[in-house]
């Protein structure tokens, strides 16, 4: 097949073409056809993440994601991955606070095989002690890697657990060590039956595919799975914070650092757009305020303002995180004071039109860049749908940023970057001996 190629950037259309199908059993399917290459991204998003967990079984969403690769009644452990990888596929999965997503980026000729295997593990997953016990150990090793032995993993966990007093975002996606140690196979079985069914999932096929043919295939493999009804959705509202919270965390570290979290909004709130532009103005690139003020002169290894951008933003109100890692030998108290001065400068003087224009163009560029990839196109559609029920937001994304004014940014800065609304965790370095005296890291 020969495609007409056009090299006029001005004529380029950023809209993603999407065709939606709703199966009788509640399954939602999006097909995003694009035939440039004989490849596609097959994605299955389950609407379950750490926000659906209960205290005592934290981390089960992520551990269960691992179990989905451990075999079915007819396939051995990891055979799912081996079969699709042998066709050229990239196979992986990830768990977040709000959802669990599985994907296979593969040659389009193997779509049916991918769907067949996904349906097999949805219907016939093998959950027994033989596979559960080693996988629990793998996850405990992963937790040590990502949280315990990493420079700031435990510090960030402290931040979330101090900033949220009631909402499930207070625990890490990977779960608390004690919960991982005591979780049972029975917990996994219950979780599987509650959350893994057509009514709670969205399939996205992005790339070389015909919508109607895909629909027929999905009906063939998933259409006969009954929906047991939607699991109860947690509706926890974190109460407004009424004053700064400060926590000290001691560990072996070469540097002092602090992480400050400010309660903001979730994906479906319009303030998410000015807030994201604000993060770019403060710390996006080398011309940003924080880079010029703190990183370039060597006062800090890093000073940044971070908030996941749509559609990666959390479904419920997330925290905007200010990360400040002092340069070795630089006192943290002075750094913290100068950072708040810099933040206060934005609150009092606002941002400039040049800064806003730069941030908007950075967003436009990043948006265009991500649309080169079937995988990201699929994620954009799937995540907007899962978290807001409106996949069409993907095609209004650029406009949502373009509409933001300097006054919007100044308003959200003043509204959210308040001292009463922040939680600060300070990393205080200690020697290995003192660290051991303080007790086990877990």
């Amino acid at each position: 097949m020969t495609l007409t190629r056009q090299f006029n950037p001005a004529a380029w259309q950023p809209e993603i073409e999407m065709v939606r199908f709703d199966l009788a059993n509640g399954l939602t399917l999006f097909v995003l056809p694009d035939k440039r290459l004989p490849i596609l991204s097959l994605q299955i998003h389950y609407k379950v993440g750490s926000r659906h967990e209960l205290s005592g079984v934290t981390g089960i969403s992520h551990l269960f994601e691992h179990m989905m690769f451990r075999g079915t009644e007819t396939l051995g452990p990891e055979e799912f991955s081996r079969i699709l990888q042998a066709k050229g596929g990239e196979i992986n999965a990830f768990t977040t606070k709000d959802h669990t997503s599985y994907f296979e980026n593969l040659p389009s000729e193997h779509l049916e095989l991918g769907l067949q295997l996904e349906a097999d593990r949805l219907k016939n997953l093998k959950l027994d002690d033989e596979t559960f016990q080693p996988e629990r150990q793998v996850v405990i090793s992963e937790r040590k890697l990502r949280s315990v032995d990493s420079p700031f993993g435990l510090v960030l966990e402290e931040l979330f657990s101090a900033a949220y007093t009631q909402h499930p975002y207070q625990w890490p996606v990977i779960g608390w060590n004690q919960d991982l140690q005591r979780m049972t196979l029975e917990d996994c079985r219950k979780y599987y039956s509650e959350h893994y069914h057509p009514g709670n999932m969205t399939i996205v096929i992005s790339g070389d595919a015909e919508p109607q043919a895909v629909r027929d295939l999905v009906e063939k493999y998933f259409g006969d799975i009954p929906p047991p009804g939607l699991p109860p959705a947690p509706r926890v509202v974190e109460p407004p914070q009424r004053g700064e919270r400060r926590v000290i965390f001691k560990k072996v570290s070469q540097v002092e650092a602090f992480f400050a979290g400010f309660h903001t909004v979730g994906l479906d709130h319009p303030d998410i757009y000015p807030l994201n532009l604000l993060t770019l103005i403060m710390s996006g690139g080398k011309s940003s305020r924080f880079y010029q003020e703190f990183v370039r002169p060597g006062k800090a290894v890093e000073v940044s303002l971070e908030l996941a951008s749509p559609p990666w933003a959390a479904q419920d109100p997330d925290i905007l995180i200010l990360v400040a890692i002092a340069a070795p030998g630089q006192p943290l108290t002075e750094l913290e004071e100068s950072i708040w001065n810099e933040v206060n400068r934005v609150l009092s003087d606002g941002v400039t039109p040049e800064e806003l224009a730069r941030a908007k163009k950075l967003m436009r560029a990043q948006g265009a860049r991500s649309l080169a990839h079937n995988f990201f196109r699929g994620l954009l559609v799937g995540l907007f749908h899962m978290k807001t029920g409106d996949a069409g937001q993907v095609n209004r994304l650029l406009a949502s940023y373009e509409q933001v004014t300097a006054e919007d940014i100044n308003r959200v800065a003043r509204q959210y970057l308040r001292e009463d609304n922040r939680t600060v965790v300070i990393l205080k370095p200690v020697s290995p001996e003192e660290s051991q005296r303080l007790g086990e890291l877990a």
């Binding site: 490849i39 090793s141 315990v148 540097v255 163009k361 080169a372 990839h373």
Partner: protein
């Protein structure tokens, strides 16, 4: 017939610079990479980081503009500038929206041809690098990688980290960066790679206008091709880090140059051994069967000169010796018995099926072009790639495994709490305790 690989265009500019590119029409993006085919392997003794620092320094000001003016101009276009030195090459990349292509090309030329080497930026760069390298001490995986290469290669060119060391921070001078630039930034050993929504008919004159007259640079260093004469003795080396809960493990020996004729056979053998994720024997044994790690992989670092072959993993400290033993056992089985027909067939179909996924984005295409050019793989390399994979046989794979996997020569570095792993390691053989450097 594979018809989805974009045609490569190539021309030699009047000053001698090689221009190579591909047209790309999916998104209005353009990726420009200036590649100098000399890198950290040319760092003078004791001056680790010279090439990489020189690369970053180019972004800190030109003859015409200071660092802030440059960054503001680039970022106001939504573009991104990165410059880094690795082994075998230094890359300066500038990517952005295709509508800004002429400005991006002019900016790239300005950065590469007229660096300002502003003196006031050097102490700041030095402080930033010192801070980053100190902070790196808290990253167990990075520290294990760096320590392994130093242990293995010693003072040979691939033995130091490209970004420099805390020791070299103290001695590097602005002159070292300028020397690297003046010596190696020459059209005789460089290429400009352009991939994006810009037609070749526009790229070529624009490149000629901006780079055609450039003849700069001295005589580039001779290419580094030989294997080092002296390497670390095989055995177990333990770096005690009592504060860690897991051990980082690196096991390796000398690998091969990119030009070696066994490249494709060994690529497939390594995929089966430890490069292929859940399709590999190491992942199956150490993670899936035993639950002893979250991740394990093996890799041949194919460079101009023989790079290292390394198996990398981590495990709860008490399990360290068991993992070291299992890795050696799995590697010995592949070396002795080769791979099975099914494993080879699946490794081949993976590489053939996966090939178009690497051509999806401008960055993916640029990576392919840079590799083709850096290692002289030939203009038809991408078109022949799948056939090269398919022609590997069970016999050639077994032969490659037997010749190039050498479990008896493994240098094993363990970085972890000695109190929990030393005794068990000593049962496997003598253990040499080492320090940070």
């Amino acid at each position: 017939m594979i018809n989805y690989i974009p045609e490569i265009y190539q021309s030699s500019l009047p000053g001698g610079l090689n221009l190579i590119g591909m047209e790309y029409d999916r998104v209005p993006w353009v990726s420009l990479t200036f590649m100098v085919k000399r890198g950290a392997e040319t760092d003078p003794p004791g001056k680790a980081g010279a090439a990489d620092w020189a690369a970053e320094f180019l972004t800190l000001g030109t003859a015409r503009r200071n660092q802030l003016e440059l960054a503001t101009d680039i970022e106001s276009r939504g573009a991104a500038l990165k410059a880094r030195g690795g082994f075998d090459a230094v890359m300066v990349s500038l990517e952005g929206l295709a509508e800004d292509f002429p400005q991006l090309m002019a900016t790239m030329a300005e950065i590469v041809q007229t660096p300002g080497f502003p003196e006031e930026e050097f102490p700041l760069l030095k402080e930033r690098r010192r801070a980053e390298l100190t902070h790196l001490l808290d990253e167990p995986r990075e520290m294990a990688n760096i320590r392994f290469l130093k242990l293995f290669f010693g003072d040979a060119p691939y033995g130091h980290p490209a970004q420099g060391t805390l020791e070299s921070v103290a001695v590097l001078e602005l002159k070292d960066l300028q020397d690297f630039y003046r010596r190696e930034f020459s059209p005789r050993a460089a290429s400009l790679v352009v991939v994006g929504m810009v037609e070749a008919a526009q790229v070529e004159p624009e490149a000629a206008r901006n780079f055609g007259a450039w003849t700069g640079g001295g005589s580039p260093s001779p290419t580094y091709l030989a294997a080092p004469e002296k390497l670390c003795a095989p055995g177990i080396y333990l770096w005690d880090r009592p504060e860690l809960t897991q051990s980082e493990i690196r096991m390796g020996h000398l690998g091969l140059p990119r030009s070696h004729p066994d490249f494709f056979a060994l690529k497939l053998v390594n995929y089966i051994l430890g490069g292929g994720g859940f399709s590999s024997r190491l992942m199956t044994r150490i993670r899936s069967d035993l639950g002893l790690t979250y991740g394990i992989r093996s890799q041949f670092h194919f460079r101009r000169a023989p790079g290292p072959f390394v198996v990398s993993t981590f495990t709860p400290a008490a399990k360290t010796a068991q993992v070291v033993k299992e890795i050696t056992r799995v590697m010995t089985e592949v070396e002795r018995d080769g791979v099975t027909p099914q494993e080879l067939a699946e490794a081949q179909s993976y590489h053939v099926g996966h090939f178009p996924l690497g051509l999806e984005t401008p960055q993916g295409l640029a990576r392919q072009l840079l590799s083709v050019d850096l290692y002289d793989l030939g203009r038809d390399y991408l078109k022949k790639y799948c056939d090269e994979i398919r022609t590997v046989t069970l016999e050639t794979a077994a032969q490659a495994a037997q010749i190039h996997l050498r479990p008896e020569s493994l240098v094993t570095l363990v970085m972890g709490p000695a109190s929990q792993c030393a005794a068990a390691l000593q049962e496997l053989g003598p253990v040499t305790f080492i320090q940070e450097s």
